[in-house]
């Protein structure tokens, strides 16, 4: 019978299962330490929250062969420069708002979520806001009263989620900060809003 052959035996595969699982898990733990280190806010891939004091663009990088976020000149959100603590508090308030309002069950963030509404990864840079001068105000007004603004031919609308003005401003801060994350070129071929003076 086949079970007498060593490579078809129960004990061989039991040992295999244990060693393969343990080995994979150890490798995962090592990689996790490195990854967590690299994606902590304030690093190269995920900038500090005070990045919202600056212009953020999304430009093609010849060496990496895809678009990457570029942090540019000082351009404070809502015209007010924030300290690192103030910026962190504002972005956190925005993040909590996106969770409490369940944004992720219509939209995607970094490509994850639901598919009923556009991806928000680069929403701060989307040309739909018109010009960079009116963008911030447009975003706040839209978030507070989206239900009357038909913005597509499908008749699909965003409901009024009772977002207050402070919540809307915080959400804009969160979205601006999110657009500065290095997402390895996702989304590809994106054409950002014109931000040159």
């Amino acid at each position: 019978m086949s079970q007498d052959i060593w490579w078809a035996s129960e004990s061989f595969w039991r040992k295999n299962a244990i060693w393969v699982t343990a080995g994979s898990f150890v490798v995962l733990i090592f990689l996790t330490f490195d990854t967590v280190n690299q994606i902590t806010a304030g690093g190269k891939r995920v900038p500090a929250y005070s990045v919202i004091n600056h212009r953020i663009s999304y430009e093609f990088d010849e060496k990496r062969n895809f678009q990457v976020p570029v942090i540019g000149v000082e351009e404070p959100l809502f015209g007010k420069k924030l300290t690192e603590q103030e910026a962190a508090a504002l972005v956190s308030h925005g993040k909590l708002t996106t969770q409490a309002k369940n944004c992720m069950n219509c939209h995607t963030l970094l490509g994850n979520g639901a598919y009923y509404a556009p991806d928000l990864t680069k929403s701060w840079l989307d040309p739909s806001w018109g010009s960079k001068e009116v963008r911030e105000q447009q975003m706040v007004e839209f978030l507070m009263n989206p239900q009357d603004r038909l913005h597509n031919g499908l008749g699909r609308r965003m409901p009024n989620l009772g977002i207050t003005e402070p919540e809307a401003r915080a959400t804009v801060a969160f979205l601006k900060w999110m657009s500065s994350i290095d997402t390895n070129g996702f989304p590809a071929n994106f054409k950002p809003i014109d931000q040159e003076n």
Partner: protein
């Protein structure tokens, strides 16, 4: 023993009495999942439908949460189902297990009522503690997270203590180790951070390591026991296969986690690691197909429970195609750049959850109802067999129609929205308005209605199958 065909709890052991409670709630939540899926699907076609009352976000959240919870209830029930039989002793701490069931069920009801009536909160910590955590699949508020962990710990205690007191079979050993991982990993999802990259990094630990690792091993255990029960396959054979599956599943699935780390801010080395290991993920699923089909053929399809065996075979193929092939199609970063976050994902998600998990839980429903009716006959020429066959057919036709329709919409989206338009909002809506996308959503809805009809027939069948049978269950050649 009461008369054959009569539903009587005296036919069940202690663990099985608890199992059928879990199964009953699972079926009700399965119905809820389908209902809210239909509502969300209709909103793609008629955006004003229930707008401002039950918005898409609410329907979609209930749709996916009901799925996670009913499958979890199905798994818990399945483990309680086999526990006394496998270990050879009564469940240790069954009273506590029963209490946990009622707490868990009550918590689910409260969470759903809050989802439907309160829906959203203010942008403060209190909202994610009391209303909705706003993170896909694990939306349950934090208080409920803690409740879930407590209930799962009770469940783990029941399983581990019972096997420890009785005998540790191969299935029992794998199961207990898998449950440690399953419970531990859930903790990774229970914290708040403003950093969305960090948030999604740990969030995938829960979602991926549940769905693509620990849940897969759990259904491997359920399949092993199911094959012994329905076909009488020798234990040594199924347990050797189980170890092969565990080695291949964890060997590919643990580092396969990397295929979710392409675009969320995580480093570029995940392209290679995630791409390579996730591309291997279908291999254990091939092993499961070979295993199940070979055993069924070897026993000349002579089974003690035809509907259960049919669903086990459906699981082997559904898991391979839905999770394996559909996942492989867009797992490499070179294609995933254009498919990530489109209807491709929805197509894969539907087919995979159905093929890998729904099928296996339904197989256990049939195992349960057979014994609950006193070990009634469920082999060939069963009275009223058309019902289970048509339920199986309608559920599969509906699911395949939904899967193909969403895949076509996904193709169109990745081409027009992603590749050509570069994912701008105008690009998104241009793609959503395209006739090819819209037709996909229409066919998906039709598939949804067919699936719902299959569910109604399944529920009816589970209530009636074996009722008019007077023959005892066919004995399979169980040998050690």
């Amino acid at each position: 023993m009461t008369a054959l065909g009569k539903l009587d709890s005296a036919n069940l052991n202690g663990g099985q009495k608890l199992a059928v409670k879990y199964f009953t709630v699972a079926i009700a939540l399965f119905g809820a999942q389908i209902l809210f899926g239909l509502l969300a699907g209709l909103q793609y076609l008629y955006p004003d439908f229930l707008f401002g009352i039950l918005d898409f976000s609410v329907n979609r959240m209930v749709h996916i949460n009901a799925m996670v919870v009913w499958l979890l209830f199905g798994f818990l029930g399945s483990v309680y189902w086999l526990l006394e039989d496998e270990s050879g002793v009564p469940v240790v701490g069954l009273g506590l297990g029963n209490l946990a069931f009622w707490i868990f069920t009550l918590a689910v009801v409260v969470v759903v009522v809050v989802y439907l009536l309160v829906q959203t909160g203010v942008g403060e910590q209190s909202s994610i503690w009391l209303i909705n955590e706003g993170r896909e699949y694990i939306e349950a508020p934090r208080w409920a997270d803690i409740g879930i962990v407590v209930c799962v710990l009770v469940f783990f205690y029941n399983a581990a203590a019972t096997f420890a007191k009785g005998r540790y079979t191969g299935i029992g050993g794998v199961l207990v180790l898998d449950l440690i991982a399953l419970a531990g990993i859930y903790l990774a999802g229970m914290y708040y951070t403003p950093n969305i990259s960090m948030d999604q990094h740990w969030w995938w630990w829960v979602i991926h390591l549940w769905v693509e690792a620990t849940w897969e091993v759990l259904v491997g255990c359920l399949m092993a026991y199911g094959l012994i029960k329905t076909l009488g396959v020798r234990r040594k054979i199924v347990e050797t296969w189980l170890y092969i599956e565990v080695a291949l599943m964890f060997g590919s699935g643990i580092l396969g986690l990397g295929h979710h780390y392409f675009w969320i801010g995580t480093p570029e080395y995940w392209f290679t690691i995630g791409g390579f290991f996730s591309a291997l993920e279908p291999i254990p699923l091939v092993a499961m197909v070979v295993h199940a089909v070979f055993d069924a053929g070897h026993h000349k399809l002579k089974s003690s429970n035809n509907p259960a065996l049919a669903w086990i075979i459906a699981q082997a193929f559904g898991n391979f195609f839905g999770a394996g092939v559909w996942g492989f199609m867009h797992t490499l970063p070179q294609i995933n750049l254009y498919t990530h976050g489109t209807q491709w994902t929805a197509s894969h998600g539907h087919f995979a959850f159905f093929g890998a998990y729904v099928t296996m839980v339904i197989a256990y429903f049939y195992l349960a109802i057979q014994k609950w009716r006193g070990g009634v006959y469920m082999s060939g020429n069963l009275i009223g067999a058309w019902k289970w066959k048509w339920a199986l057919a309608l559920l599969h036709i509906g699911m395949l129609m939904m899967t193909m329709a969403m895949l076509i919409s996904g193709y169109e989206q990745s081409q027009i929205e992603r590749a050509i338009e570069g994912s701008s909002w105008v690009g998104y809506f241009t793609a959503q308005a395209h006739p090819w996308f819209v037709q996909g959503m229409q066919w998906r809805q039709i598939g949804g209605w067919i699936f719902a009809a299959g569910f109604v027939l399944l529920a009816w069948d589970l209530l009636t199958i074996g009722k008019r049978e007077t023959r005892p269950a066919q004995i399979t050649t169980a040998a050690e």
